[in-house]
Point group: C2
Chain length 929, copies 2
């Protein structure tokens, strides 16, 4: 009750904007006791007690055997920093008070030479975090208490072992002494004595070691090892707090978007010993199988050992059945406890325990990490077991994790220290992973693949001539070109892994090598170092198209597997999601994949992809290089039947679902011939002098192609191009309709900045569509809409809506133009920005809600104000990213569109967004009661 009072007063004071005088402030509770059936805290107090502290409190409340201890709150940590690294007033008194409580509970005394209480000190933030302070065990030992421990345990060796472990941990973790200084001495002693294992050392060996260790400590820190247990405790608490702002922790939080303001709690807990002989032991486990999700206890143990022995890999853990066999009473208790815990938490848990002389003690519990496959299985099983409802099951699955089930991926269990990775990543142009031997030409790719080799095609950049080789390869790596380069677009279309624009690789095509800087883990320095590497034809490399990483050699891959569980979860998601989930699909094959994953339509069908096909590129080039309308028209006449064929096949595949076809978007110069040879070929087929063609080719060069003559600007200045495309779409639609096959074409005009652009293109479209329908003597429904992909379109969406049947956010370009930042060129600063927290996240991966997202919101509001019920979607790559999908749900979009393989991710994210909203609604309604 007192606590509640405090809170209420604080809140009221804040409202009145009157800071309460410091002295008069009621005493704040900084320390929470737990253990042996009681606890001040609870399991839902992770914010205040950290994950570990909350788990210990909850287990105590459940009456489980938790060694007594206390948790110093995250608030105390925050105030510690606010006060310039001083404890908040009253905290230390509460520590002492609670320490007494622990002494009473455990029947021992801290620092008592006769019956010493030893404790462990651990950090415990809300989220577990690398770089945070590790465990310090056996704290409270000194020359005197050591004697007490020896007497109490009647085991000198054990006591000295505990002492030397304590000095090592305290020295390295609290005082930052290089741990190897201690280990080297240990190794020497073992060598000298001819011992193999630590356990072979005698009490005397260890006794000597303790003295040496104290010397090392003195030499490295300039002070004596602290004898006073209270001083030890204070120093350890300071180290826990201090580690919150350690470099690694700060960096980790920035990367993972964890606020600096959370703070860490500090757990001080009575030591229990798993290494007090054969009736003792230690173990860790999961309440279900974390890799398959199967419902069985998945745990390991060690007899006569401490937890750190497992972590250090000094001994190999045994199957949990060993515990059952050797310590059946403890095992039975554990069995009851883990089941009770799982039922209580209604989730799969990760637990730690120790058995001291036959008595079981629980040391930790938390929600267990799991593979995607396990996540599905566990969620579904728990629904069946009526532990959770379907919505909870859906929320339990991490959408991003689903990728594991959809693409080959590099085994996440692999230790990055074992990989040789290039320093400067390329662009994650097409997701998945691939391993293969390096080849440098498309022909070789086909040839090698023909004889059964797996190859990675490495090119400065690709062109339509390389399509065959790209097909044959496992993956594609290019040195130049961005997310919309030929390689990227084609690879995504093929569903093939691609890393593009890896600008730091330097290719020598003649010598068939490329050179590159790589980072290699140097065990000596305990850090990565940079080296130059040469990769030759035939060498293995591994691409990670999801991250843009390139690894030399063969990294282990995990292959995708679509289970029945997956299908069930998708069905559950479909039931609750509000957003439509459509696919970006440029080919009939893409469309088929999209249908397989249950797409609601095609949100983006890029027509330029079709232009890249090798049999078409020549006609396209003829068109571009013609300097009059007639020349363009005659070239376009050759392309028309091909485009019509494309649309026919895609429409057919989609069975009447909407297919959003984007008219030609990229700058014409992307299609230009690269070599004089190609130009000469065109020159003869077009009957235009080579010099003239070459000059025109040069004129078409653009300074900033992203901001150049592209999108509807092409359609407006060369209307014959879009006319041909609209004709192809409508002819295909009419033909299918005649065959009684349903079609729903949605014609999308790209890069509109001003309503007049769209008005003009809409008029043209309607006119051509009218003509085609008249010629075909059949009526076909269709819509005309636009991309919203520049700020001006967003800000004038009310005007644009008057000419649009639908909007589709092109968030890739919208992000680029809103930031004034080209993704292709951002490699030299964007990674730095993200690493240094200048941008919290890469805005090309997840929508920048504050900037780009605000423009989207404005566009939605203005667009729907002008035209209520306007259909609005998104077709940028964000359409398949969970956080962005949630944002799209919140701002009221009708659908997201993403690459076919992202559909499951998007569906799950959409379902979660709907569930969260519903929950929020409930919370709100409760709040207003």
């Amino acid at each position: 009750m007192a606590k509640a009072m405090v809170k209420t007063r604080g809140a009221k004071g804040a409202k009145r904007q009157m800071p309460a005088p410091k002295k008069a402030a009621p005493k704040r509770k900084y320390v929470y006791f737990f253990g042996m059936g009681k606890a001040d805290g609870k399991g839902d107090m992770k914010d205040l007690l950290g994950g570990k502290g909350a788990g210990l409190a909850e287990m105590s409340r459940l009456g489980m055997p938790v060694p007594a201890g206390f948790t110093i709150t995250t608030e105390a940590c925050n105030e510690y920093f606010e006060n310039g690294r001083k404890y908040p007033q009253g905290m230390w008194d509460q520590v002492i008070e609670n320490l007494k409580k622990v002494e009473r509970a455990m029947g021992m005394k801290f620092g008592d030479p006769a019956n010493p209480l030893l404790v462990s000190v651990r950090s415990g933030a809300k989220f577990s975090m690398p770089g945070m302070m590790d465990t310090v065990l056996n704290l409270g030992l000194n020359r005197q208490t050591l004697q007490g421990l020896i007497k109490k345990t009647n085991n000198e060796r054990f006591a000295y072992d505990a002492y030397r472990r304590f000095i090592t941990m305290f020295g390295s973790i609290v005082m930052d002494v290089d741990r190897r200084k201690f280990e080297n001495v240990l190794d020497e002693v073992k060598k000298e004595k001819g011992c193999k294992e630590d356990t072979d050392l005698t009490a005397d060996d260890l006794k000597a070691l303790v003295d040496t260790y104290k010397g090392i400590y003195r030499k490295e820190t300039g002070q004596d090892f602290p004898e006073e247990p209270m001083q030890q405790l204070q120093m350890a608490i300071n180290a826990v707090f201090g580690s919150w702002f350690g470099d690694r922790a700060v960096k980790y939080r920035k990367i993972h978007e964890i606020s600096d303001k959370l703070g860490t709690a500090c757990n001080v807990q009575t030591m229990v010993f798993g290494n007090m002989g054969d009736s003792s032991g230690t173990g860790v486990g999961f309440t279900r199988d974390p890799s398959t999700g199967d419902r069985h206890f998945f745990a390991e143990c060690l007899i006569n050992a401490q937890g750190e022995d497992v972590v250090a890999g000094i001994r190999t853990p045994l199957h949990i059945d060993e515990l059952k066999r050797r310590l059946p009473r403890a095992y039975k208790e554990l069995d009851t406890i883990y089941k009770k815990l799982e039922k209580h938490y209604r989730d799969m848990l990760d637990i730690e325990f120790t058995v001291q002389e036959g008595n079981l003690y629980m040391l930790q519990t938390r929600v267990g990490k799991r593979t995607a496959k396990a996540a599905l299985r566990i969620a579904l099983d728990m629904v069946k077991e009526k532990m959770i409802d379907e919505n909870t099951a859906l929320l339990r699955i991490d959408p991003a994790q689903l990728d594991q089930l959809l693409h080959p991926m590099i085994d996440p269990k692999i230790d990055p220290k074992t990989l040789v990775m290039i320093v400067q990543k390329g662009l994650p142009a097409s997701p998945g992973a691939a391993v293969g031997k390096v080849v440098f030409t498309a022909d070789e790719a086909e040839e090698w693949a023909g004889r059964g080799e797996k190859v990675i095609l490495v090119r400065p950049e690709t062109s339509p001539e390389d399509i065959g080789g790209m097909h044959a390869a496992q993956g594609i790596l290019t040195a130049r070109g961005g997310m919309t380069s030929h390689a990227a677009v084609v690879a995504r279309g093929m569903g093939k892994c691609c890393v593009a624009g890896a600008g730091s690789i330097s290719i020598d095509e003649e010598k068939k090598v490329f050179t590159i800087e790589v980072k290699v883990y140097d065990k000596e320095k305990e850090d990565f170092t940079v080296k130059d590497a040469i990769v030759r034809e035939g060498d293995f490399i591994t691409l990670n198209g999801t991250t843009g990483e390139v690894i030399l050699g063969q990294a282990p891959l995990i292959m995708p597997e679509l289970t029945r569980d997956f299908a069930i979860v998708m069905k559950m998601a479909d039931k609750v999601k509000k957003l439509g989930v459509w696919a970006n699909a440029d080919t009939p094959k893409d469309a088929a994949t999209a249908m397989k994953f249950g797409a609601g339509g095609i949100g983006l069908c890029r027509t330029e992809h079709m232009f890249f096909e090798p049999d078409r590129i020549k006609a396209v080039r003829e068109m571009i290089l013609s300097d009059d309308v007639e020349g363009r028209k005659s070239a376009l006449a050759k392309i028309l039947p091909m485009q019509r064929g494309d649309f026919l096949a895609i429409f057919k595949e989609m069975k009447g679902l909407p297919v959003t076809v984007r008219l030609l978007d990229p700058p014409l110069h992307e299609f230009l011939p690269h070599t004089d040879e190609e130009l000469r070929d065109l020159s003869s087929s077009m009957g235009v002098p080579f010099d003239k063609l070459k000059a025109r080719n040069k004129v078409l060069h653009e300074f900033n192609p992203m901001l150049g003559h592209r999108g509807c600007r092409l359609g407006i200045t060369y209307p014959e191009i879009y006319e041909m495309q609209v004709r192809a779409i409508m002819e295909a639609a009419c033909e299918l309709k005649k065959q009684k096959i349903k079609v729903m074409p949605e014609i999308m005009v790209p890069l509109v900045a001003h309503v007049n652009e769209l008005a003009r293109m809409r008029k043209m479209t309607i006119e051509v569509a009218r003509q085609v329908q008249k010629e075909c003597k059949i009526k076909v429904d269709y819509h005309v809409g636009t991309m919203i992909e520049v700020a001006r379109a967003a800000i004038t969406a009310d005007q644009i809506a008057t000419e649009a049947d639908f909007f589709s956010f092109g968030t890739n370009d919208l992000t680029q133009t809103t930031y004034g930042l080209s993704r292709d060129d951002a490699g030299r600063f964007l990674p730095f920005y993200v690493e240094n927290g200048i941008l919290e996240e890469d805005p090309f991966i997840t929508i920048d809600q504050e900037g780009v997202g605000q423009l989207m919101k404005i566009a939605v509001e203005k667009g729907r104000n002008a035209k209520p019920g306007l259909k609005i979607g998104i077709c940028g790559e964000h359409g398949g990213e969970p956080k962005s999908v949630e944002f799209c749900h919140r701002i009221g979009l009708n659908y997201v569109s993403c690459s076919p393989y992202r559909i499951p991710v998007a569906k799950l994210a959409a379902a979660q967004a709907a569930i969260k909203e519903k929950k929020k609604g409930k919370d709100l309604s409760r709040a207003t009661v």
Copy 2:
């Protein structure tokens, strides 16, 4: 009263959203009578009666001798088109009614064989507009009325001459018969008869000609020449209305942003004849000198002639004194009238008159066009004469016109048909005009200029090595590069005319020629035709840096002249304007010019310009190509003293006014060496292998440099660059302050998209500034602010404001990124957009208020919400464009900054904005009374 009733009812009806039933609608007045002392209309009814009709009505009201007539309203014209080219109900009846009134007033009858009334029919829109229907004179003539005219005038020759003129005009203007068909016959007859002038032809000659003309009319139109005067009148009215949607008029309106909805009026007026002998005559004039503004009647006349003879240039007009001498009574009346008119209109007027047999008739009056010089003089004189107040005087001067007084310009009186102009314009990179002989290298430019030649330097693009030649040249023309290219930036800094990126010129440096497509007026075709042209070294060309035009040969230039009037007007403007007017100035010379024009500070001092100086570029290149911090630092150490020197000189010049220094902005690769030779030179001086340098040079290439590694992205990734710049600024400031010279540095961070970027740069700036002040032992005030030049900055201005002392809109880049459009690449579509009305105006010339302007408004609101009183300016090129200046005033900016030579324009525009706002305020307060 009835009219007022109609209006009131209409308005109320509209408010109630209930369309009044058509039948019950009160009769609308479509036709307004004027003449001989009375008029239905007034001078302020230009919207309804057009400029000409309003002028005729006003003169009638003033009791001046205006031949009676009537004006058919613009509303009638609009309804005519709404009704599918049918007259609105009742209009024709009103025409007939008013024609009767005219007959009564003039004592003649339309179509009466004995006493025929003849009329002129003219279009008359609110704004005079090329492409609108010209005058048809003598309408009402036919076989019968001709005889009446002969009898009445007793002059057969005059009557037949009038008839053949009528047929020519009616045929060509109303029926679109090629005028030359008539003229050719006339020429043949004259040749046949051995006559030189039309006046030499006899009555019989003309009689025969009339028959031939009627034959031509029949042949060309397929119908007989209309005999019925009422039919003639109807056809002429139709032609006037029809010309409103003629191609030329539509295009003109689009270009000049005149709404299609204005419509044209049609004026039908009694003919008076200046060609009835020596007591008759005609003339045009201005009430003051339109080119100097001097206060004297500036008019010309012809005796025994019709107005069209003056227009056709058949006879040379005489000084108005000739009228005084020969027709003193008419002259005296004219003298009284023009003075009365000017007093009435309180402006300089343009008038037209005719004297028929000694009687003066006024045919037109309107506000007269004038040169900038005259505009100033007239406005100031009228203030002195107490005709107008100072505010009105300021509103009378067109700010855009002031440019005439500030730069050399191509004489606007030149007929474009006489010029040979290149077809595809370049970019208007630096304003003004220049004439000179073509040279192709900087060395030659210096050499030729050294011997007194005026030269234009023509280069593919310029580089720092060309500075000397650029100085020596009159102007610079480049084939590549945009508005921010080296040539453009340097030329603007030098105040030198430059046309950049004229991509259609093809330079052969070896042969010293360039080839280009030009347009030449073809008199035969009466249109421009395109030809290829070759320009050799030594050929004259003329550049128009204000428009981007290039003209072969020497076009006549007008030189600038700064008068006392100019200074007085500037003082008047300073008194009323609210906006500060600052200058963009990169050099001490710019700063001096800015001070001369009364700049309030420097709003943009670009530091990259300083980097381009030839003695520095090498150090800059060393810096860029260093691949480590140390290399960069050592190169920067060389640049530091130079930059400090720059700032010292500029600060000194500005005498304590704020100097806004923008830290380095452009992509580093703009500074890169272009040739292997330059690279080799650097290689040896840097001691870095050539290959390595070359590779690094290649890596620095960007796909979209505009969106690349530039602005604060450089400052963040290579902090040593900005640190050096801040140090240079602060060291200069401290040194001057020690000398008791006032300084006010404002440090501006470019291309901020996220508040974190600015926060980081601000922190760095404050730290360096602190160090420098400590070293110098002196305190200097300074501010740190940011450009707002990408949409994200505008939309998150509330966040950014927390880290900024000021904002400055970079509307060039803001426009580019908001549209997603690079100015350098827009040449292939932006002109088309503007010509075809897709964009009403080029958004790089005047701010796009709907799009870019909305973002600016959002930024101002959010910025000042977060930080009330935040100083906000603009430093894009729009800062000197009158409409944009007005917009900046309206949205509450503190200042505009423009190139020094634009300051007067900006000041005047700012003053006008303030006056207009005040007026509006008055109007509003009146409205609320």
